[in-house]
Amino acid sequence: MIQVAAFYLFASVLTACALAVICARNPVHSVLFLIACFFSAAGLFVLLGAEFIALILVIVYVGAVAVLFLFVVMMLDISFQDLRRGAMQYVPLGLGIGLVLLVELFTLYRAWPERTPVITAESTAIENTEALGRIIYTDYLFAFQVSGLILFVAMIGAIVLTHRCRPDVRRQKVAEQNRRKPSDVLEIKKVSSGSGA
């Protein structure tokens, strides 16, 4: 009973927020609604008994990815009038993509095998963190490592693409500062009165 109520709560908040993401006029509000979406999705995962995935979703998407999203969107210098002026010309394209997705979802729904057994934490009696770990590091080890490698390559690629070497920036060189001794930079001079240093 409570579970059903919680499901409908999270599901309706998720849908409403997803709608608000595309309807909000202010891009920052859109990102904030997107964060609410992630959060409700995490709630749904908890209801499914997948608490590890739920919390990883919050840590990675809400705690890191969306922060950077928000960071970038807040700093963009957007004129909302310009943004809205050209928006209507994309409506046919958007509707087309939406229609394709809807048809796909519907076919999937029709073709879904009936009553697939749902594996939850309770039915296997081990925590789903442990279960996931066992599967990832045994059966899917290769796929897991390859996906890690791909992400690593993507990270290096992003750094290479965006990093600019600017010679005019003055950086603090800590090692150099620590190596410096008083004798290198200080000199004691005896100044006799009546004459400059």
């Binding site: 890191a64 922060v67 807040m74 603090q172």
Partner: protein, 336 residues
């Protein structure tokens, strides 16, 4: 409906009582943490600290609270009203919600979930939104700069905090906070984890925007940072949230590294003292470190802060995860 009340009614009421007690204790802790901070800082600077309100100034936090209650909440004309008001509420709520999984003693925990440490980490990583939203919604340059600084600072230090937690998890083999405390740690493991304790202490200073990493609200450049436009209750919520976060992070450090409610150094003769007392004392020790650091260190420059986070802590913790895992593997000390 009546069935529902019969099944859940008593549980819900009992739960509400427990929640009320925890919130009460945390808020009381926050009030007297501000008092302790002013007294300790005063002692460090040869001043007396608050003295006039009540005996030894003990009623000072209450007077401060009343003052903030009675002030007017000002919302700037150009601010985004909803986000502006939502930001402090969110920060404060998150600071309280996280207490649900903290075990104060064996079995003395509101929700003993099996991914407790991930829950804590998730909640603390969401705290940054309160700050960013406040900075953006205020529509002021100082506040915005404070919000941006805070966002990058908290995201940077979260990475090394995550890796520190991974080290502890390697040694304890569970994500449940009670089990993390109860898993016995032989001294080699403690030695292995000690550098991570230091990294964690510094990271929680940065994560809670405390001195010497209090750049998001650096008075000298940003005149108050992300909360410069806030007044009265909205400001009080930020203030309460930040201090509640400090206590929370100290409790987290206690659970991860100081053995939670167990007597210190495994002294069985001291186990007649209730675990809650040990938990409180250890948390206070970390809180004293917060205040001590504030009274001792000058504020970091922003590039130095980023350098420490990304170029020193991140590689170091990453290497230490490998070292910890390798050592535990070699000596066959992996739990579970």
């Amino acid at each position: 409906m009546i069935d529902l009340v019969k099944t859940y009614g008593l549980d819900a009421a009992w739960m509400a009582v427990k929640i009320g007690v925890i919130i009460g204790v945390v808020l009381f802790g926050v009030a007297y943490l501000t008092y302790a901070e002013r007294k300790v800082l005063g002692a460090m600077q040869k001043r007396q600290g608050p003295m006039t309100v009540g005996p030894f100034g003990l009623l000072q936090p209450i007077a401060d609270g009343l003052k903030l209650f009675s002030k007017e909440t000002i919302i700037p004309a150009q601010a985004h009203r909803v986000v502006f008001l939502f930001a402090p509420i969110m920060l404060f709520t998150l600071a309280l919600v996280a207490w649900a999984v903290i075990p104060f003693d064996l079995g003395m925990v509101l929700a003993d979930i099996n991914v407790g440490i991930l829950y804590l980490f998730a909640i603390s990583s969401m705290g940054v939104y309160g700050v960013i939203m406040a900075g953006w919604a205020s529509n002021s340059r100082y506040a915005f700069l404070g919000g941006l600084r805070s966002a990058s600072q908290m995201v940077s230090y979260e990475v090394s905090m995550g890796l520190v937690i991974v080290c502890v998890l390697l040694a304890t083999g569970s994500l449940n906070l009670t089990e993390i405390v109860m898993t016995p740690r032989p001294w080699p493991v403690q030695v292995l984890l000690f550098p991570m304790f230091i990294v964690f202490l510094v990271s929680i200073l940065a994560e809670t925007n405390r001195s010497p990493f209090d750049l998001p609200e650096g008075e000298s450049e940003l005149s108050g940072g992300f909360m410069v436009e806030y007044s009265a209750m909205t400001f009080a919520l930020f203030f309460l949230g930040e201090y509640a976060n400090m206590i929370l992070m100290s409790a987290m450090a206690t659970i991860l590294f100081l053995g939670g409610w167990l007597p210190p150094f495994g002294m069985e003769s001291l186990s007649f003292v209730p675990g809650v007392v040990w938990f409180g004392l250890k948390t206070c020790l970390i809180l004293f470190f917060f205040i001590w650091a504030r009274g001792t260190f000058p504020r970091y420059r922003y590039d130095q802060l980023m350098r420490l986070g990304w170029k020193i802590f991140l590689p170091f913790t990453l290497i230490w995860v490998v070292v910890t895992a390798g050592c535990l593997m070699m000596f066959d000390a992996l739990p579970g």
